[in-house]
Symmetry: C2
Subunit: 202 residues, 2 copies
DNA sequence: CCATAAAATCGACCGTGGTCAATTTGTTTT
DNA sequence: AAAACAAATTGACCACGGTCGATTTTATGG
């Protein structure tokens, strides 16, 4: 094998991401140049671009990692006996908090992952699925308890709730929902989705 | 008044947008420089930036105009007696077609309007509301016919369906839904939202 | 241990998005 | 009509994102 190289690559990649977090956090995304970033990471400018295709991709990389981590962390630790609404609220609001506390990072991450320039490889699709699958146990549990219909595909259920989560984020970015009202809004939307928009059949 | 100036401003703005449509369509967004664009529009580079803050904003401007037009056009001409599902499908799919036929424009427009850098002024919020309000008559009609609950706020209903529309677009941009399957997917989601995700109460 | 190939690194370089002080054009005042 | 003012226009200029060929570092084979 090529153990030295492999290790170097991993270290450098981490060094770049660490430098990015540090500088982007301190001075902002736009205000930090790649040269500055490279210097902080102790590599040349060109090297940065051999690890990441674009400046945005750097943000994307560590946001994805961090969100993936907290999400699976939460999904695993959420009380599986509480109601679907509660469980989803915990997870989506944690994610909401993460994103909104770093407005710039969050924006770039969302822009790139929701409406990407190109769906790069199969790796990206894999990522998306994995993203959804973390929540599957929660939905399955809700189906078992009779909170959700069992005749629906998990993918469609997951998509539906994820869409509502996106909506909240979009409203926040557009200044239509202040931070503290987000949980209430999310709750309303979840209930709407669960209960249905048509009048109850008596 | 200042009639000459006013008129000049309107003309120049239009000239810039026309040049943008022409060049962006022919050569692509990234491949067209502002200098080129300015030359085509018959103005100086700096002038472009006195009409638009950024390059993206030019795309945003004509996308918004075009989408607004087709949307209100459709909303007005849709058969108000057909089912909610049909009416929404016509409108959302027209919008979907517009966006997906111009992948680049659509992407930039969506990125900027769904997750904007800053919610600029009140004008922007006004725009958003107007955007929703075009669909209000359709939702009110559905409420009257008993297809939608009347105890829900129109804003929440509109948001809910708009979220699903966004989801379809995101899936398309991520290569998860090919163009021809979009209507079917949208239909499924609309029905899910209307019927509700919980099991029917017997 | 040296020779050779392959991979990784680098920073000078390029094109472009965006800025700004100087200039032109249009409007108002005397 | 001329002077004084304000708004609009301009292109030289700057900083930065991204590229690429030259250079260094690591792995392999004899």
């Amino acid at each position: 094998m090529h153990p030295v190289r492999e290790q170097n690559k991993i270290n450098k990649r981490k060094a770049i991401i660490d430098a990015a977090i540090k500088l982007f956090s301190r001075n902002g995304y736009e205000q930090t140049s790649i040269e500055e970033l490279a210097r902080e990471a102790g590599v040349g400018k060109g090297t940065v671009y051999s690890y990441f295709q674009t400046k945005k991709e750097i943000v994307h990389a560590f946001c994805e990692a961090e969100l993936d981590f907290t999400r699976s962390e939460l999904a695993a630790h959420t009380n599986p006996e509480s109601s679907l609404q509660e469980q989803l609220l915990v997870i989506f609001m944690a994610e909401f908090k993460h994103i909104t506390e770093n407005r710039d990072f969050g924006r770039i991450y969302l822009q790139e992952s929701v409406f990407p320039r190109e769906h790069h490889g199969e790796a990206d699709l894999e990522m998306q699925n994995q993203y959804f699958e973390i929540l599957y146990p929660i939905y399955r549990g809700a189906q078992r308890r009779g909170e959700l219909r069992s005749d629906l595909e998990l993918l469609h259920i997951a998509g539906h709730f994820w869409a509502l989560h996106l909506l909240i984020l979009s409203c926040w970015y557009n200044g239509m929902i202040p931070t503290k009202e987000a949980p209430e809004a999310m709750k309303t939307l979840i209930n709407q989705a669960v209960d249905g928009l048509k009048p109850p059949t008596i």
